[in-house]
Symmetry: C2
Subunit: 338 residues, 2 copies
């Protein structure tokens, strides 16, 4: 156990009952309470004026919170030093001005990458065995396969192409290892050494990546420059019967083009993210033949959200002892976030 620093700052904890169950189960809550003498725990959701009154009254140095917390007012910059966020995107919670003014903000960073990678593998395997089709056919239509030659494929030995080589792709590489796949990736910002370490062929162009993919995993970041980056021209380069899965950001893919090309080339598709979420009821994607659709649940499953809670406890310890914070969000990261 680390010793408590002599002068302990005040912390405000805000979460819903459900967020508490998932992110801060009893063992973690006990550790958290043991770390602070001046701790206020408030149950979300809160009305905005309740929230502002609470902040004015407590003027906490530290805020620990999750999704269901209203945005911070600019006046919080007067007292708040560290916003320890249990989840991912901080832009709704923290105005840019507060980060500019020196507020330290952290989030779940790459700790959730393994569960997104897990969902990527799931959608790849679903696409290869046509689980989307069979689920509907078996459960709703009373069907069975005809004959011994179903239209299914195996992942063993395939060429898997990664669009993006961030933390999710790297976790996915670990899960793919037992399948003896041949890996390639496109990611201009990642140095050659990383490609070599991971035994991944570097593609110099997206054309190269798409045209040599049995399985294309879309994990490119959702920045404005990537809007509809994956359109008809690239998709048409995929070999016939190729798998296309998207676990990154919906805005990267031109969905109308995907729907068209998939039928022309017999693509097998798995999607977790969409241009518009919730996916519109009349989206043509819902009616495609060879597709498995999930409603954006690749992120940390509720049972792994305690990992985010543990990470926050570690960061609170770091803060108390003036050690570097994990997943600190500077202005560059803030502006690139999606």
């Amino acid at each position: 156990m680390t010793q408590k620093p002599t002068s302990l700052p005040a912390i405000l904890v805000v979460m819903t009952e459900q967020e508490k169950v998932e992110f801060m189960p009893p063992d973690l809550e006990a550790r958290l309470r043991g770390m602070f003498a001046d701790l206020t725990w408030v149950e979300a959701p809160l009305e905005e004026d309740q929230w502002h009154k609470l902040l004015d009254q407590k003027r906490p140095e530290i805020l620990l919170c999750a999704w269901e917390t209203p945005p911070l007012p600019l006046s919080a910059g007067e007292y708040l030093k560290f916003c320890c966020f249990l989840c991912g995107s901080v832009r709704k919670l923290v105005p840019r001005e507060l980060v500019e003014g020196g507020l330290k903000v952290t989030n779940w960073g790459a700790i959730v990458s393994n569960t997104v990678a897990e969902c990527s593998l799931l959608l790849i395997l679903c696409a290869l065995r046509r689980v989307g089709n069979w689920s509907v056919a078996m459960r709703r239509d009373g069907k069975w396969k005809s004959g011994r030659h179903p239209d299914t494929l195996s992942l063993f030995g395939r060429r898997v192409a990664l669009h993006g080589l961030g933390s999710i792709s790297r976790e996915l590489v670990k899960l793919l290892k037992p399948f003896n796949v041949q890996l390639s990736a496109y990611s201009p910002s990642v140095p050659d050494e990383t490609f070599q370490e991971l035994n991944i062929r570097r593609c110099e162009s997206l054309e190269d990546l798409f045209s040599t993919a049995d399985v294309l995993v879309e994990l490119a970041p959702g920045k404005p420059a990537n809007h509809h980056l994956v359109g008809e021209d690239l998709l048409k380069l995929l070999p016939e019967q190729a798998v296309f899965v998207n676990l990154g950001r919906g805005m990267v893919v031109d969905e109308a083009a995907l729907a068209r090309v998939s039928q022309q080339r017999g693509l097998h598709i798995g999607l977790d993210v969409y241009q518009d979420e919730p996916l519109p009821v009349d989206s043509p994607l819902r009616g495609l033949d060879n597709i498995t659709l999930l409603p954006h649940l690749g992120g940390p499953t509720p049972d792994r959200r305690r990992d985010c809670g543990e990470l926050c406890l570690e960061n609170l310890e770091n803060y108390l002892h003036d050690k570097p914070l994990i997943n600190l969000i500077d202005l560059g990261i803030y502006d690139r976030a999606t």
Copy 2:
């Protein structure tokens, strides 16, 4: 290249056009034809009297064939020495009397285990993320998740229990490795050393196996003694929200009990095999809430059937050079096969 023996036996090859495409693509066919001087290739399907006439006329020493070949008559024992079967179950093709009489028979043995293990991992991940439900909801019902707390789970760190520790389970252990799962298994016939090598906890009873399983993988053999071995009593021992998948044999599981218990305990289910196949249109399984159903396609996907073709070429070489045959089916194996 091995030299051809001086006196080459006659071989009869029987398969449908589709079987040829999958099991014996052009490169393998060329190798096969290069091995034999006296080779007859006949396209299936064949009528039974056509088939008998063909055999009487050719009297081949070797038969290479797949599913769509009619049963061998007992008279084939007069000339046939080796039946090299490209697929799994030989009982429909080869009468027991021929094996008793010394006919050598081989099949695909364990070479298909990796694709069945792949399908096992797929169904585990499907059950954990409720893919069966989401597929229907997203594709047919125009739905989306409600809120941020979907009823999904991750495989990372879970307790995975294997009922059966044959070749499929062993391949599955390789695929599970990156998920840091805790493994247990029940298999009385497998020695302790195997459990130790694979770092699997040995369960002395099925009660122990089921009561400590977050994920139960059913891979027990389909012998008569195992009929409905997994019934209400065992299934009730599974922890709430546990995953139950069956990639082995349908007859091992009491499906009515599974349907009942799954609703009581909120089990997540994935099935590829059933007591009656095709699964009856009115099977209660089709209407269950938390289930992903596949129509028995765990076996080698068509793209990996060439592995079975390669194995047969190796066995034909072995036969020609009097070397031991791989996956030779003796009477014990013949009688245990399902």
